[in-house]
């Protein structure tokens, strides 16, 4: 088993390199479990937001605050980045490291653009609408939920960037493949969370 491991590291890459070793399979499994925990984490944040979303304390309400075109653009960027991370995994399965690196890079750039829009949105609220963390229960819940998601995006950007660096140095092996696979899982997860944020926070905020 250990010699098979060494062959896999140095020799030809198996078809699904992320599942070629026990370490890799364990990593993918544990990451699914971790995402289960993350789902509870965001679920609790969503529940908190839903409980407090009309408690504006005479500050700005969701309807006054949100501009859907900006949020729609951010949503578009993040959804496309999820698609490009699928392309990256497909490139990995076809054993084309250069293509894999390119798609990962596109994913990171799209994620960074999303994060830029979010930072711009937050700073607009703080500067022009007097809508800060301390304004109301609604504002606290908004910044905490959306900010937690934003922090996840930021971490994902750093993580995938480090992985691109590893791909350049070490190439695509049975050690790097599971890392890339779980980072793609993570990226899809924060994408799904954003779909819920877009619906529950922004769309619901606009209608009432």
């Amino acid at each position: 088993m250990t010699t098979a491991h060494a062959e896999a590291v140095n020799g030809t890459l198996p078809h699904e390199p992320e599942k070629a070793t026990l370490e890799g399979r364990n990593k993918v499994l544990a990451f699914w479990l971790f995402l289960g925990g993350e789902a509870v984490l965001f679920g609790t944040l969503f529940a908190t937001f839903l409980a407090l979303r009309n408690q504006t304390n005479e500050g700005p309400s969701a309807n006054e605050l949100f501009h859907l075109p900006l949020v729609a653009a951010a949503t578009f960027l993040l959804l496309v980045s999820s698609l490009t991370s699928v392309f990256a995994i497909q490139a990995m399965h076809r054993n084309r490291p250069a293509l894999l690196r390119s798609w990962l890079l596109v994913t990171v750039v799209l994620g960074a653009a999303f994060l830029g829009l979010e930072i711009y949105e937050f700073s607009e609220y703080v500067r022009h609408e007097e809508f800060g963390m301390t304004t109301s229960a609604f504002s606290s819940a908004f910044y905490t939920l959306v900010g937690f998601h934003g922090a996840h995006v930021a971490f994902g950007i750093l993580w995938i960037s480090v992985l691109i660096g590893q791909l350049v140095r070490k190439g695509l092996t049975v050690v790097t493949a599971p890392k890339i696979y779980v980072s793609a899982m993570y990226w899809h997860f924060i994408d799904v969370v954003w779909v819920f944020i877009f619906t529950v926070v922004y769309l619901l905020g606009k209608v009432g």
């Binding site: 364990n26 544990a30 925990g37 609790t44 407090l52 963390m133």
Partner: protein, 612 residues
């Protein structure tokens, strides 16, 4: 130094045991101080503020830092052995989980010397725990300390789930796993789905207190009852995180010393799953008096009472296991047999509390205190004592003394019932919990005196246990592979303590109670499932320790980020989040190192295994 870098599950188990034991001792001393204050009416031994800090820290320390690490110690020591694995799925994460727990616990306990301990009760209900009513840093130590410690628990939970799913020896199907492995599996699943809720709750409370957010501030539109919901959505599953491992231990100890297989194995498995599932459905029974309305109260009453069904199944299965068996009353079995009636009493008062109209009378009285001490001390702690005496020879290679063990059992269990049985009646007579003193001549005096004497007796029991450990540690490590001679599961097939690779050859499992099955077939040991070969081991590393130090520094930095210090330089460092940033830099830097430098591990070759 070896201990700082180890990734061996057996050594991590011992680290968990010593750290958990230390915090258990601290929590125990806090309990003794509380009982001394309550020994007579209008006592002036402690002032009200100190009393509040003591009850808060007693509860928090015992639950999060005392019993949970000891549970993790037993899981770490036993689970890989029971499922026939050479280690857990993620040895690195295992070490990380321990160190984050330890530094979280240290941070929480630093509050005693850094401006006052938390004083809002172990549940830290808002608005009592907001800055308005709790102005010191006490509750910040609570939120951030528990956050860090909770991270460690979550990591441990994911690790055990993955370990049990993927690392079982050939032939060990799910329905052949020992019950302790099953309860560990289910407990880990509860940890995975319950701990993120308290993570969020603690973040929200931290933001309210440090960043001025309004989650629980009525003045800003917040809702204090929201805290109770979030806390108990975590908090109720937490009590099953505590008790299920004890059920597992009892299910190992009783069959061993009855020389009979566990009665109703599959019903035990499904009862465990059912308890875990129902455990998530009952959180609002802690909140009957907050005004949820009759429909919600009725639903949560019924779902709570339902839990008595699978729990009752377990109680009867243990009794039927002993029925007709050749029962030997060794120390572990004494604790296990003592567990059954004691825990049942706690379960019965639980059903009483589940009835919402009755709960309006019991709420926040000593009846509740008596109930949860019966399930946690009379249930879990007796279970842990059973498990520690049972697996001590496997962990350390030395049998604990039977004589002192029996003294431990009798003093502890008599002291326990003296302390808490009378508290049922104190509660029914109207004595409120969390009050630091009471007026004379309300018929509380005698019962409180009895309760305090009982607490002292429990303390004596602990001293017997410590003496037993000390005397045992001076004896030679000569325990046999199967020191109880009736071992049924895989951990008894290998030396005590096991070599670092556990199994020279991974065993082949042919049924429930794999070792017992081989014994009854006349075999001396297990049939191997592989030839002797080179064994891959993970490398020791300091990174888990460094990551935890980083989080610890970041937590302290964040906590004091709004304070003004006497020295300008300190104020600058803290107020601009430089300390926090530095801590996070250490943690993320260590994570980066872990990612960049592959751990290829090392091998133990067959020649080295010869003669072992």
């Amino acid at each position: 130094m070896d201990w700082l870098t180890t990734v061996d599950h057996k050594k991590i188990a011992i680290l968990y045991l010593w750290a958990g034991g230390l915090f258990f001792g601290i929590g125990g001393l806090e309990a003794i101080l509380i009982r001394i204050q309550l020994i007579k009416p209008m006592n002036t031994f402690l002032d009200a503020q100190t009393f509040n800090e003591l009850i808060t820290m007693h509860g928090t320390t015992m639950i999060f830092l005392g019993v949970m690490p000891v549970i993790f110690a037993l899981m770490n020591a036993v689970i890989p052995l029971q499922i026939g694995a050479r280690d857990v799925a993620f040895p690195f994460l295992n070490a990380l989980g321990f160190w984050t727990f330890l530094f979280g616990g240290i941070l929480l306990n630093l509050s005693w010397i850094m401006g006052g301990a938390p004083d809002a009760g172990w549940t830290s209900y808002t608005p009592l725990s907001t800055t308005t009513y709790s102005a010191t840093h006490g509750v910040d130590f609570y939120t951030i300390g528990l956050q860090i410690a909770g991270l460690g628990t979550l990591i441990g939970g994911i690790n055990f789930l993955a370990t049990i799913i993927t690392m079982r020896a050939p032939g060990m199907s799910y329905m052949r796993m020992p019950m302790f492995a099953w309860t560990t599996f289910i407990t880990s699943a509860i940890i995975l789905f319950a701990f993120p809720a308290i993570t969020v709750g603690l973040v929200l409370l931290t933001f309210d207190r440090i960043l001025g957010a309004n989650f629980f501030e009525v003045g800003g539109g917040g809702n204090p009852v929201l805290w109770q919901h979030i806390f108990w959505i975590f908090g109720h599953p937490e009590v099953y995180i505590l008790i299920l491992p004890a059920f597992g231990i009892i299910s190992e100890v009783i069959p061993t010393f009855a020389r009979k297989r566990l009665f109703g194995y599959s019903s035990m498995v499904f009862a465990t799953i059912l308890i875990a599932f129902l455990g998530f459905m009952v959180w609002a029974h802690h909140m009957f008096t907050t005004g949820l309305g009759p429909v919600a109260n009725a639903l949560f009453s019924v779902s709570t009472m339902l839990i008595a069904v699978p729990t009752g199944i377990k109680i009867f299965n243990w009794l039927f296991t002993m029925w007709g068996g050749q029962v030997r009353f060794t120390t572990p079995n004494l604790f296990a047999v003592g567990f059954i009636p004691t825990f049942t009493m706690g379960g019965v008062t639980g059903v009483m509390l589940a009835s919402a109209p009755a709960d309006f009378q019991f709420h926040d009285t000593y009846f509740v205190v008596a109930h949860f001490h019966y399930v946690i001390v009379g249930g879990l702690v007796l279970g842990l004592f059973a498990g520690l005496h049972y697996w001590w020879p496997k962990m350390f290679g030395r049998m604990l003394g039977e004589g002192l063990g029996k003294w431990t059992f009798w003093t502890f269990i008599i002291g326990f019932h003296m302390t808490f049985f009378v508290q049922h009646f104190l509660g029914l007579m109207g004595m409120q919990r969390r009050v630091f003193t009471y007026l004379p001549n309300q018929q509380f005096d005698l019962l409180n005196l009895i309760s305090t004497i009982g607490a002292g007796l429990m303390g004596v029991g602990m001293l017997f246990f410590l003496a037993n450990i000390f005397l045992t540690s001076r004896k030679p490590a000569d325990a046999a592979n199967d020191p109880w001679e009736d071992g049924r599961t895989l951990e008894w097939t290998i030396p005590s303590p096991p070599p670092e690779y556990n199994f020279k050859q991974t065993p082949l499992v042919r049924g429930i109670d794999a070792f017992w099955k081989e014994k009854t077939a006349g075999h001396k040991g297990m049939t191997p499932s592989e030839p002797v070969g080179s064994i891959h081991m993970p490398s020791a590393t300091i990174l888990p320790f460094l990551m935890s130090v980083g989080i610890f520094i970041a937590g302290l930095g964040f906590m004091f980020s709004r304070d003004t210090f006497s020295s300008e330089a300190l104020s600058f460092l803290f107020n601009n989040y430089i300390v926090t940033g530095l801590g996070l830099l250490i943690t993320f830097g260590s994570m980066l190192m872990r990612s960049l430098y592959d751990d290829h591990g090392w091998h133990i070759e067959p020649e080295e295994l010869e003669g072992r």
